[in-house]
Symmetry: none
Subunit: 188 residues, 4 copies
């Protein structure tokens, strides 16, 4: 039940936004009453927090599995991480959008638990870039932090336009992105 509610909530928050979606909307969509909601959640905000937690924890653990795989080069890891972010849209797109869009509606208390994880995700990319430098995979003359933000921007913005059933496969998009990041777009 709690599971079902959370899933419906993600769907509705994605479609209509957190503030605009009422508890009534959520419970109606699964055929129970408002009382039931408050049996499982202490507040609307708690539900939102749960959604955030579930998303960022999942994402982080997938990212860490990639980073820990020592059989791969840093370039390959970078590809995997970018690829993951595209692939993930298929099943986590709604959650992702809710995550980035509705974070502001979390309480400070909740934010304190979630922001460090979100930052960790970015920090891991910075770390990957730094380690790739030492190994010679990446150049030495760029600002790691800005480039990390750039990569993140490319990845996160894809939630806004990427349609999983569109013309391009996730492989193609991730490939283009990685190419762009590694080799640039000008002739060499």
């Amino acid at each position: 039940m709690k599971e079902k509610m959370t899933e419906q909530a993600v769907r509705l928050f994605d479609q209509k936004g957190f503030t605009v979606t009422s508890i009534q909307d959520i419970v109606e969509s699964i055929g129970v009453t408002k009382g039931t909601f408050y049996y499982y959640f202490s507040s609307k905000e708690e539900l939102l927090k749960e959604i955030h937690m579930r998303y960022i924890d999942g994402l982080l653990s997938k990212q860490e599995r990639i980073l820990e795989d020592d059989s791969k080069s840093f370039r390959e890891k970078l590809f995997d991480i970018i690829h993951l972010s595209i692939v993930d849209i298929k099943e986590q797109g709604a959650s992702a959008k809710v995550f980035f869009r509705e974070m502001r509606h979390l309480s400070h208390k909740s934010l304190d638990q979630i922001e460090p994880k979100r930052d960790m995700y970015r920090y891991n990319i910075e770390k990957l870039l730094k380690e790739g430098r030492k190994s010679g995979d990446f150049r030495n003359d760029f600002d790691v932090s800005v480039v990390a933000f750039g990569i993140l921007g490319m990845m996160n913005w894809s939630y806004q336009w990427y349609k999983p059933d569109g013309a391009k496969t996730d492989e193609e998009i991730a490939g283009t992105f990685v190419d762009m990041v590694l080799k640039g777009i000008q002739p060499q």
Copy 2:
């Protein structure tokens, strides 16, 4: 007065979000009464639309001024556009965030006026890439549309993290972004 209201609204919508900001909040912040708001705007949504219009029209015209300047190469134009998006955060950051975040609260009628302009902005970037190919500024082997989305992602995401009074200047950030896009991050 209308001007003043719009500006305050942008500030508040940026800080607290469109739905959470009440008309009361807006009028209180400039010391008038609710009636006054409805003297100038027919609805909260109209105000939001006005904000969107003002932002996208301004952005488009700045972009077009860059694109029309024939004394510059395509690479330089790309730099200027990316640079613009960072510089713009200083004065238009709040509007930009409202633009991307609250578009969903526009009516269909308003969206029909705004979406084409937003798409035009992206389309202009695609065009720049295509023309740069012909001139030899850019390589021929990438997907223009995906790369355009990638560049847009980098630029638009910067609204989320860039602090105009931070350690890096806008020149530096734009420089890093353009370097990254042109030459990539791997050794050549």
Copy 3:
């Protein structure tokens, strides 16, 4: 201008009702601004009172012209009065509907001026019936007051259903009503 405003107001009050029609609606329909309204009327209620006055005064004077005509029998006068009420709908229908429907929105002060006139209209009919009795035009065995209310009901209700451009002429309807009142509907 005042004239024009009153006429538009009648039209709108008839169509949408007094409460639902705003001053804004009225002034917009003739292309002036709200200030202008308050130049001519001290309040919305005063306008309503003016409409009531104009209507009941006109009706009363027409009724009195009929009653004073000594060349006609009482039966003929009854016909004329009923006929008048139907004919009047063509040009005064809107005013009449406003009169009966919106009287409740008058202040006590206004009501004190209007109710006596409205009662006078009914009282004149009672007087006609009483005089017709003495002359032998009407029977002696009915309750004058109730019959007067009955006749008034027939007449006033016609505002609700009579369409001036319908199949029956006002002559026909008045004729049927008078026949019904004089001879009844059962075989004699």
Copy 4:
């Protein structure tokens, strides 16, 4: 509770009119809060519709009970129907006034449900007149539709002036009305 609310609403709508009566007025008069109102009704208009339905359904079923009684002549049925309309004022007067006065505030959707019933009521009277002709109870030389409107006018107008605790009994009034309708007011 819903019952109680509806009854209070009828009382208030009768006294002050639909538009002027606020939800606040209604809930205050029974000591609950506004939220409670919206727990039972989806809108003010729905409440009005419910009042209309309840009234016209009740009236129609009483009328039909009279019409179906084959032990009575058509003249007796006519008396019963007119009598009913007067008697009814005692308990349904407020509802009746609200019905006729506030119908305009119903939505088109509601009107579509109610107008046919209101028309049915009138149609039943026309039918009674037509059948009474065949049986010889009524004359053949009058316009059935206009006479029906005339009778309806007499009956419905009585809501405006009849005071149940006045000097005349409902029997007397109905008697006068039926006499007037059947035999007319002129000597035979």
